[in-house]
Subunit: 321 residues, 2 copies
C-alpha cells in the first residue's frame, strides 16, 4: 500500500431519488453512512451544493482534515467522459455538466466520476459477490437493466465511456419499444418494468388472475413485488410473466457468458431480492444456451452489498489508476 | 525494443482446409509465406509432423538458427486453454490435444497457441484496419461468424478462454437451429451459410428468382457469391436475403458497440470482400440501433490484411506478455 491507499475515502452514490454518502476506510469498511433525498428539481447547481455541504459535514463530524482524505468518488446514472464531465444523465435531466471539475473546485479534494452501475460492480468486485475474480459482471435488475463490467480487475468503460449498455442488447422482438427507441432491448424483457408491462399486457388481454382484483383495488399498475408474490401462489398470469422474464434473462446471461467468459455474474437491484423464485431455473436455462456447455464455469449469484455497493465502489474507484 | 522483440518470428494459421506459415520480421514484414493443404484425415500427429517439417524447412531455407527465432505463434479454429492445449476444435475433430507442448518438444522453440479469429484480430490490430486503437473487434463473416476482441491493446479471451463467441450471441428467432443447438445465434443470420440458407428457403417457398435456374443447372446449393451477384442485378430473392443479412448484422454490431464501445469494428472473412453492396446500409442501420446515437464514434470498416491477418497476429501474439 502506498500512502494514498492508507487514507480514508468518501464514496457517493448519486441517484434520481436519493444520494448516498459513505466515509470508507482503506480496507473498505463503511465508517459512516448518510442518505439524502435528491432535490426534486434535479438542478445541477442545487445538487452540487448539497453534495459539497454533506462532504464538508462528514469531514467536520469525523474531525478529518482534507489532507487526511484521499478524495471523493462518485457514481451517477448516466454517461461521463474521461474528464469526469457528465455527457448525459436522463434521470437527472443533465447534459454536459462538469461534475468532476465543479466538485474539485468547491471541495479542494481529488474527485473521480463514473457510471453508477459500473461503480456498484467495482464495489462487488472488491468486497462482495465478485471478490477474487479478474473478469466479472454485475447486472442490476431494477426499473431498467444496468451493468458493471470488470475486465482484468479494472472497471471497463469502452473507448469513449459508452460501453456496458447491456440493457440495450437486442435479443428478440417485444410487444413494446424501449425508451431508447429500439425494439427488443434486453431490459424490455428482463427488468422490473418488463415484468409489470407483460403482466399488465396479459391482464388487459383478459387472462384470469388474482392480480385483476389487486389492480382494481389500487387503481394503479401492479408492482413487481405483487407479481412475484402472486407467482409464489401459482397465479397463472404472474407465473407466465416470471417465466418470460427468466427466459430472456437466461438469453442475456448466456450472451454475456459467450462474450465475456467471466468468473461470476452477480445479480443486483430490487428484483434480485426475490432470487429464490427464479435463480435455479435461470441457472439451468442459461447453461442450455451457452456455447460451451459442460465445461462452462461462470457462476451466477445474487449480489451481496445491496445499497452499499455504490458508495464502496465509488470510493475504491479513486484507487484505480 | 528488448532483445526478443528484435528477433524474427514464425506465425502459423492452422485451418480446416489449409495451413499457412509466415516468417515475420520484428516490424511485421512477411519475409516468407508458405501454404500447405491440411491433411484430410485431420489426424493430430500427422498435422504436427507437417508443421514441424515446414518450420524446420523455413529455418533451413532462410539460414536461420533456432537462437535467431523468437518462437512460433499458432492460431487454430477452436478453444485452447491457458497451457496451449486444444480443448476442442470441431473442424479438425480434435479434443484435448497438447498442441503447444508437443510443438515445443519437437521444435525446441517457444510456442504460443490461440484461437484463429482472436489472433487474426491481433494482426489487424498491429498492422491493419484496427491499428492505433486500444479497443477494437474483428468479425469474420465466413461459414460462421468468428471474432477477435482486443481490449486495452491485448487479445481478450475471458477468464477460461471461452469468451468472444460472438457468433453465438442470440439476437432473435430463426427458421433453423444453429449447429450449437440453440436458436437465434447471430451466425445463423449473418454469415455466408445464413445467406445461402435463407435464399434457399425463399426459393423452396416458390419465390421467383434468377437463382432458380442457377440452382437447377448446378444441382447444388447456390453459393454466397452467386447470391451477392444476383443482388447486384436486383434479383428479388437475393436482395431479400442480403437485406435480412444486413438487418441482423446491424443488430449484432450495435449490440457489440453498446457493450464494448470500441474504436473500430473491422469486418473480415469471405463476405467482407463484397462490402461494397452492404457496408453503407450496414453503417446506417447500426447507427439507428446503438444506444448513444449522435455521438457514437465506433468506425465500421472492412478488414485490410485478408489471408495474412492470421500469420501476422499469431507471430505478434508471441510478443504479448
Amino acid at each position: 500500500m502506498n500512502q494514498a491507499q492508507q487514507k480514508k475515502m468518501i464514496g457517493i452514490d448519486l441517484g434520481g431519488t436519493s444520494i448516498k454518502f459513505g466515509l470508507i476506510s482503506p480496507e473498505g469498511k463503511i465508517l459512516r453512512k448518510v442518505k439524502r433525498k435528491t432535490p426534486s428539481t434535479k438542478n445541477f447547481e442545487e445538487i452540487l451544493k448539497l453534495i459539497v455541504g454533506e462532504v464538508e459535514k462528514i469531514l467536520r463530524d469525523n474531525r478529518l482534515t482534507k489532507e487526511e482524505i484521499h478524495g471523493v468518488g462518485i457514481g451517477f446514472p448516466g454517461v461521463a467522459n474521461g474528464n469526469g464531465d457528465v455527457v448525459f444523465a436522463n434521470n437527472l435531466y443533465w447534459e454536459n455538466k462538469p461534475l468532476q471539475k465543479s466538485l474539485e473546485k468547491e471541495l479542494s479534494l481529488r474527485v473521480k466520476v463514473g457510471n453508477d452501475a459500473s461503480l456498484a460492480g467495482f464495489g462487488e468486485f472488491h468486497f462482495g459477490a465478485m471478490k477474487n475474480t479478474r473478469n466479472a459482471l454485475l447486472l442490476t435488475l431494477g426499473t431498467g437493466l444496468g451493468a458493471g463490467v470488470i475486465i482484468n480487475g479494472k472497471v471497463f468503460h469502452g473507448s469513449h465511456y459508452l460501453g456496458t449498455e447491456i440493457g440495450h442488447m437486442i435479443v428478440g422482438e417485444n410487444f413494446y419499444n424501449c425508451n431508447c427507441g429500439n425494439n427488443g432491448c434486453l431490459e424490455t424483457f428482463a427488468s422490473a418494468t418488463a415484468l409489470v408491462k407483460y403482466a399488465t399486457y396479459l391482464l388487459d388481454a383478459g387472462e384470469t388472475s388474482s392480480l385483476k382484483k389487486t389492480l382494481e383495488k389500487q387503481q394503479k399498475p401492479v408492482t413487481p413485488q405483487q407479481i412475484i408474490d402472486a407467482a409464489r401462489r401459482h397465479d397463472e398470469v404472474a407465473e407466465k410473466a416470471l417465466k418470460r422474464f427468466i427466459h430472456y434473462l437466461a438469453i442475456g446471461l448466456s450472451n454475456l457468458i459467450n462474450i465475456f467468459d467471466p468468473e461470476v455474474i452477480a445479480l443486483g437491484g430490487g428484483l434480485s431480492e426475490s432470487g429464490d423464485v427464479f435463480l435455479e431455473e435461470l441457472r439451468r436455462l442459461t447453461k442450455t444456451h451457452t456455447y460451451v456447455k459442460e465445461q462452462n464455469p461462470t457462476k451466477i449469484v445474487i449480489a451481496e452489498l445491496k445499497n452499499d455497493a455504490g458508495i464502496l465502489g465509488s470510493a475504491m474507484f479513486l484507487l484505480e489508476d
